[in-house]
Symmetry: D2
Subunit: 346 residues, 4 copies
């Protein structure tokens, strides 16, 4: 049994960590922080979290937390996470950070897109980008995991086999993503109020979304050269789910069968990635509440294009589920521990 | 490990049984039937049911099924279940029937409301109404469980403490229920198509819904005399959930504190029923995907009325989860086995 | 052409007034106020309001407004409307107030339920409750209309024929209402954020909702004696619509045919109320975006109860459409002017 | 007053025509056909269509219809429309066809994508593609209008200024479209049932959707050379709306200001197309129920790409509203007659 703390437990990723960990046999959540709701029990604030009637939300007093837990999930806002990660990491704790603060290895890129200086570059160098399908070996040996963003997870998993095998020209990739509204966080804001989002659909952050450099960093790594991409996020009137539709020019002649075979093989040993049969495409509803990523690929000969569609639950594989997966790897637990629930459909 | 068959596995309650049982440590699903989709794998038909890539849907050949399983969940249409229950029951199998065919003990009442003769009255007498909160002891000794309807579960749990303690006049109870659309089943029908249901809300079956006699049978038992009720179901534009709002005249003076205390005590030992603090009321979203029932009570002195609100997930506590709970009781498993997942919120 | 001002134009009822009046041939909107968004054009703030590119939102400077308009729609919060109504009314302007401040004729009742003193009792006496189906003649002669609340409109229209004809016992009426989320207003609040409301459903304000005394005032008038009711509102995960289900004990034997006939006749001359054929019940989706009220009635002999279901769009017949209807009556326009659009289905 | 018949009045585009025409001052709907619902009144089948209590749905008896109307809207399935258009057109009636049968001028292309022979090529040559923003002059002189598809309308309006002005390289355009579920039609089909669509999102018809050749025909015309495009449709869990996100490589250096200026000027005189200010992007909710098309453009210098987002209501500007617009042009009515309602928001 390890003792786990969740910092930022009243946001949607924090709440999702609590939900997932409630039935993890090797973990006990010993602390959960929230500035606004400090003093309330978790179950009092979130009636669905029935297992936490005795866990009282507390303000984030780091020294106090140090004594209460061995592993820290940080679900804090970007920027706010920088110092906390550094502190717990230097205190020899295992840290899984769900913010973007330790995902971008190039400091100048981070500072440009996030508009903030990065003040912990020594610690930054120790962080491993926590996408198990690429970095499993490194994650196993690390104690500081920068948990990937939701959009990047869907885009990178969709493109990895194609880039590694050189199936596509990396120069003109289009990544068109659509996310459920939990991706915007839990907040009081007219823009995410029910009546503005429901029955609506829009693009946002066109050309300037902060997940762009994270996507480009990882795709560049896979392509073996620096690339830029067009990435456009959209807001779906659903709670959960990201569907990403990717377009890339084929680098060479490729049959549907071949493409499907390469993808199936690439993810053959992965517990959470499923390549669907040719002709079947992902639906966010088929992964809801689970850590699965579903992928469909289509070779369009008429336009010489590879189209890839990936679907994840943004709060699970796109955030808290992947964080637990990373914890399992780091701690040497069975990788699927706590993550075996099937999606909730319908 | 017991071997379990699911008859009618391509409807929503069948699918939900498969989802829940996938992680039940003492059960193996060895057969799943579907007339329309026989020959397909479960995962092929339902991509979210990742754990059943090798389970092929088969037509309902009873003799063949007898050899494949020890316990049968029947998720068949009303009427169609009569004979199947009788067959498996006489063949010494444990049967949990999710249809209404064995819920109504009075044959004339069944025949009047369902418009069908009941041809297996000997077997009918052996059936136990599978609401654990009332009939746990009987369920434990039975091998034939008539799993309660979704609306009745929400209404009966809401009223049980008040009726047993004589808090209310049973003569003029109003039960106003609102159900998610999975309650209508999985079918090709314009009336349940997205564009007709979405952004809509309506009452249906006013005064004639078939769950009425089931509700009245159980409430009469609790009240110790025969009663009739007004029960009105409505269709909510959500996937899952039933919220039932109940109005009953107080039989005697009662404080809010006293009412809350009686309810809390009544369900104190129940693993799946939660009485919320005074002032907090249930939301279907707080029980989604789980076997919980949340209950709130309010004494309205101005009108001398007790108002009770209960919330369940119609597919879980209102159907498949309760069926698994019944199985756990019958088989002597831990009652919460397979049912410990917290609700999916948001 | 009359000049119209809308005070509180950036809330949902204000926005809806702008939408409806854009095509009203006898009205020009000459002023629209918003404290928060003063300085922006209406179309800049609400891109769907294409007709108001030149109308700039302004702060509520009463003296300035006096010169700009002849008729004032006040869509201000309860309490804030008291003084404004008094001011414009004393300045000889026609006022249609969408708040609750002038709806309750008994000052003590207002003060008890709203927790505020009423400081303009002389003006209060001049106000007419703007439900045209009851008060058309008085509205025609008034210059101060207290536009009804959304829930009261649905409840009163549902019960009027039954109470006037003495069909029901007024002592034990249950009014179970379900409203779309626009009813909560346009605001930054986690409780109305998409992810909390979507796929959810709950009751709120049980026994204490402020529309209760308004409903009781009007029903008492129709019944000819003071009555109390049980009224419970619920929050639907849809933008618009109220469905109200009403239960009342029959006062005497009544056939379905007779009940339907009485209702049909009662509303025979009304342009906006439709009594549906026996066996057909209202759906909020069938009135969406329109000023219609649909009503269905059902005699349940088994329980000796009359069940009535009514549906309106809370922003139209429940607020801004009814306000325009009242304006049409007051000004002597055709009653349906500006309100002839059919509902938007699907 | 012209007499209008609607053939196929019980599908969503037929229903929408009835809704729009109910308040058109120069039109009387004298006939509406439906094979399945013949004999019922329109209002009986669709309670929201209150204005048609006396209009009885009839089977499609062409000879009989000839005598009843001067102008025919055909809202029939693809294929079924071929012969009907030919018949009414040869009978000297004005025909506005909402099917795809007369949109594709190249017979071989039609036959390849629709899998049907085209048997009325003489009539086909007379048809004008009914996109007023391109073909207004031709429409005015025609009596046979092939009303554009919903996806093509959104894509072509989005790309027209850029292609006409040579801003982009036409060779690698990506068109990623997302449509509400009314686009799938009114039908009994599990795939469009509420519980399968709600909270879901998926791509479909990747690389093979039949609107592709229609889009390519018109874009080729605008580009002045034959081009192919990647077009991917997706299914949104909303009733109405299409949002199309378009990516195209810039042909030359272009500033945001210049791009916005070209778009604004291109649509300056159009009653139904609005180019939003730079930085503001369309939301389907802002055009719901109206004939508006909102367009936003963004120059992404980093990737040398022009990104265009367009939003329409698929049933209005994407079908029935555009059909009425075409009728207005053909008949010499004011172009906005019957189409002046503002969008329904929220």
């Amino acid at each position: 049994m390890i003792r786990v703390a969740i910092c930022g437990a009243s946001g949607y990723t924090g709440v999702e960590l609590l939900r997932i960990l409630a039935n993890h046999p090797k973990v006990k959540v010993t602390a959960a922080t929230s500035e606004k709701s400090a003093g309330k029990t978790v179950t009092g604030l979130f009636p669905h979290l029935d297992a936490y009637r005795d866990l009282v939300l507390e303000p984030m007093d780091r020294e106090r937390l140090l004594k209460k837990a061995d592993l820290f999930f940080l679900a804090l806002p970007h920027g706010a996470s920088q110092e906390a990660v550094d502190f717990f990491s230097r205190s020899k704790k295992t840290v899984i950070d769900l913010s973007a603060d330790y995902r971008i290895s190039d400091v100048a890129t981070y500072e440009k897109w996030y508009g903030l200086p990065h003040q912990y570059q020594v610690t930054l160098k120790k962080a491993v980008y926590g996408l198990p399908e690429i970095y499993r070996a490194k994650i196993r040996k690390s104690r500081l995991i920068a948990n990937p963003g939701c959009y990047p997870t869907s885009a990178i998993l969709g493109l990895m086999p194609a880039l590694k095998k050189g199936l596509i020209e990396p120069a003109r990739i289009v990544i068109d993503s659509k996310s459920g509204t939990t991706g915007a966080g839990r907040k009081a804001d007219v823009a995410v109020s029910f009546c503005e989002v429901n029955e609506g659909f829009k693009a946002y952050g066109i050309g300037v979304h902060r997940h762009t450099p994270e996507i480009e960093q990882e795709l560049s790594g896979l392509a073996g050269k620096k690339i830029t991409v067009n990435f456009t996020p959209h807001l779906l009137p659903v709670d959960r789910g990201i569907l990403t539709t990717i377009y890339a020019p084929l680098a060479k002649r490729l049959t549907q069968e071949k493409a499907a075979g390469i993808y199936t093989q690439a993810y053959g040993g992965e517990p959470f990635v499923r390549v669907l049969e040719s002709g079947i495409f992902p639906n966010i509803k088929n992964v809801r509440g689970s850590n699965f990523c579903h992928i469909g690929v289509k070779v369009v000969e008429r336009t010489n294009t590879l189209i890839i569609v990936s679907a994840i639950d943004n709060l699970v594989k796109g955030a808290s589920g992947q964080a637990v997966h990373n914890m399992n790897i780091v701690m040497g637990f069975d990788e699927t521990e706590g993550l075996r629930n099937l999606p909730l459909f319908p």
